[in-house]
Symmetry: D2
Subunit: 306 residues, 4 copies
């Protein structure tokens, strides 16, 4: 397929002076939605990729790492997750991983961009694998923050699967102390949340450490963890915040047992070993976390790529 020389490139800007360059085999689809520019690109190294506003979101080859790492720590730590809320989650792969949990009876996914969800359903069916048609799935195209403000419902798990906070985009108000407080209120007493939290690259730790610091203003148990998603071009961080349960208290064996008992699919990335190993962050990352004092607030938001 890619034996010919590559002459079209997708440059994923990681900063104004760093980029990961993907050779393009084929451009599949391109559209300006109401909220963002969506593109589906076949790359030579990572197969089909979803690109929003010029940033790689997920690739056919390694999206499983991102989505398993985002979803399973929270759900496996919870004793019996039934009701799950997804903030964002466009591709439907977060939904897919949640639905593998047989305990789950209802998932509400609230993604403001109906077109992105619909185009992903059509053009990236290998991401959602039918999850949108599962009877447990409910889908709404609203502002997730406003939805949570107005609802009285509570959830066992809330997964925040949104792109990074940029000045032009709407996502930045989903990274603040006020939003996390709202999320906290909408959780059941055993509730747990997880989210992607930006790169853990040694020279670029502001976003990751500030998100964790902000979560700590709200939640009693807050953990950073990381995974390598090669198509992202940089090491990547996640956060888990919990009202009662600490994921590190589960043994490898217990996690593997829960996976066997509760998950209806064969995982490719996640298991008990990774569950333990992922919470081990490099010493300099932990030190940067300890030193970080920045709390992200509605009136003092944080933007990446500035």
């Amino acid at each position: 397929m890619s034996e010919q020389k590559i002459y079209k490139w997708f440059l994923d800007a990681l900063s104004p002076h760093e980029a990961h360059a993907h050779g393009i085999d084929n451009m599949v689809y391109s559209k300006q939605t109401r909220y963002q520019r969506l593109e589906i690109i076949d790359t030579a190294s990572y197969g089909r990729c979803l690109v929003l506003d010029g940033k790689m979101q997920s690739s056919e080859v390694d999206e499983f790492i991102y989505h398993e790492a985002l979803v399973h720590p929270a759900l496996l730590t919870h004793p019996n997750p039934k009701k799950v809320f997804i903030v964002g989650g466009g591709e439907g792969a977060t939904l897919r991983e949640i639905l593998y949990h047989t305990s789950v009876t209802k998932v509400l996914m609230v993604d403001i961009d109906e077109e992105v969800v619909s185009l992903c359903k059509d053009h990236l069916p290998q991401w959602s694998k039918g999850a949108f048609d599962d009877p447990r799935t409910e889908l709404a195209h609203l502002d997730a923050r406003r939805y949570l403000e107005e609802t009285n419902e509570t959830y066992d798990i809330i997964i925040i699967d949104i792109s990074e906070p940029v000045e032009e985009g709407p996502a930045y108000l989903l990274y603040t102390r006020e939003f996390y407080s709202l999320v906290m209120e909408r959780l059941t007493p055993d509730g747990i949340i997880s989210l992607q939290a930006g790169t853990t690259s040694a020279n670029n730790l502001l976003n990751f450490t500030a998100v964790l610091k902000t979560l700590r203003q709200v939640f009693p148990i807050v953990l950073g963890y990381h995974a390598s998603i090669p198509s992202f071009g940089l090491p990547w961080g996640f956060a888990l915040a919990s009202k009662r349960y600490d994921p590190r208290e589960l043994t490898i064996k217990e996690v593997d047992h829960r996976i066997a008992q509760r998950i209806s699919a064969e995982l490719k990335y996640y298991d008990g070993e990774i569950h333990q190993g992922q919470f081990v962050l490099p010493k300099m990352v932990r030190q940067a976390m300890d030193k970080q004092e920045r709390v992200i607030e509605d009136n003092a938001p944080l933007f990446t790529y500035n």
Copy 2:
């Protein structure tokens, strides 16, 4: 420094259709040595960088991750490492980390390219931090394989710090079963080796898994481990092979204790937690390792970027 627009770029080709692009602030030095093309570049994201034959070798900002991850697992696992042999190690940073171990009485570094070593000493003094002047250091500019064939000396630790095996380069004969057998013979009974083993990227596991398979033909204890070195653009793998001691048997506490007792510097990346966490590889990497049957031999070498 880098507020101006970047218009000179260093493209680190990870494959014919993937690259990591580094904005260049300044070109510091450039030279064709007898063996390779050396360049020292100031990049906007990673500061000063060493580039050999167009491939990023190490950067001011994150070389500590690479060198701590390469050196300390082996030396901390050994009960009392005294004599150490370095295959390659041009920048002198591997030497630096070894010399931090107070037990070490002698380090022999054999790097075939005298010019690279000398230029790194002059232009990258923050890498070697005086290590070349340490009385325990001995430096030779020879073919390391031939040296090991001809010597009768044995070593407690052998660290292999060389670039990747490419068709044109001399390094590929330092990745074969025959070479590892030779290394085994030159170890003391408690001997341990470590080496960098290429990317652990999900779609590019051949090199990493074949190196581990090959080591397993020779050593009773062989472990893969990984670290994220952002300037490399992809997740990175290492291997540790040992005659007697298994690094995973050390508790976090014991590793931290050994660091406190034996290491004269403040480490930035490594500690007991990372010692444990780094051996946890993603499930799909472990599965690829289990399935790999390729043994690298002098007559059946492996080349990257083919």
Copy 3:
């Protein structure tokens, strides 16, 4: 349209160490035909572009320069061109310009790649502007050289509109002394040919000067000329070879008169002034032409990008 930041780029390699980079707005179409890779790309600077095997062929914004410069010098120099043969000519824009000449009664276009012609007709209708439906047009998808060998027909004008001679492609046998001799035989006594002849860039004159030298082995009147087609990234050369008429003998006024009399459309690039001016080549180009001794032959072909 292109106010957003560009993150997809088409790199048109002019040599292994020089390229012209076009920001991509949209990928319109992509296909591997039997003979070449065709792509239709919307670029930010040049609008819709046809790309074959990774090389820019023509752009919406400036294809008129290329096609007017290729076609009109020959046809306007001829006293009464009726029958025209096109070697290649995929997009149909060469055909379009020829058909603007009201004297023309028949044009036979022989392009080996039926798919390219058909896809251009569908996706680039602004190039051919209905020319394929003109009753004077005849289209054949054969090897043009073989066709000319087997036919007894003769033509007043032969326009050679093919891509550059590369090692893998079939075009290189359409650049040799043997082929030009065949073309000569298939011309009527007043016959004239023209062709694109590669860049006239100061450091890369081999192709242009060798094509002219080769034509001089066959034709009594041979002229090089040039035009600036910005999307090509380099200055571009053409050649006109003639049995009897010398284009430079036409005054500006006479050319403008012929345009007014014979051409049914408003030209955008060409007129009497350009007709004269285009034959004036820089001194160093003329000197390189004088010194060039290389004759391109079937057994000694010339390839670009080597």
Copy 4:
């Protein structure tokens, strides 16, 4: 030299969505002067190049085209040029070409950036070829506009050799009607000026046509002309403005005669034929010139790359 793969690139941005990419062999020198960022780069295609603020200024391979085209039309049109003023001219190559004219008795070059001039003298001696040491040369490092405002001297020829007008740079006030009026006043009655006037690319004619329109507010005879300088990546325009003499009235023969009589060096690009041919602009360029109504003024300046 450049047989190895190129992995460092200089991207000369022609617009936010178009660039010419030059493979870098070697970075020779880099310095932030008081006014601009200077870099000297060895490229694989064009040899040594001068880059100011990220824009290609001139290359070893083809600077002769630019400098011959800038200087000789004005000096050869003048009956007996003695005193010449250069606005800018950093590299010293404009000075070099002027000094080849044996009639010239004095050249005053006023370039505000002393460091650029000095660094070019040291690092690009093949550009100035000793011109700075010619006894006819006078060099001043001042604001050329202010200098012309304050002097009473007049000149036979004024050559404006400055970079393009960008918002941050000081050059934009050297492109206005007010400046050209001042230049007019400082010319002797037979006086002629010439300048580079930006690209003549079909889709980017604003700068070129507005400069010509502005000159026409001041000078009775104003001509645009063009040359292909491959390293610039786009076709390039110049302007000549004159009080009395029209360059087109010189025959090819007369120009060649003047060159033989007056110029002490062998020209590589320029001769009588080019003198005539260069004034022939494509029809669409002439039409755009006719339609242009924009006059550049101090209070209504024009910036490129906006």
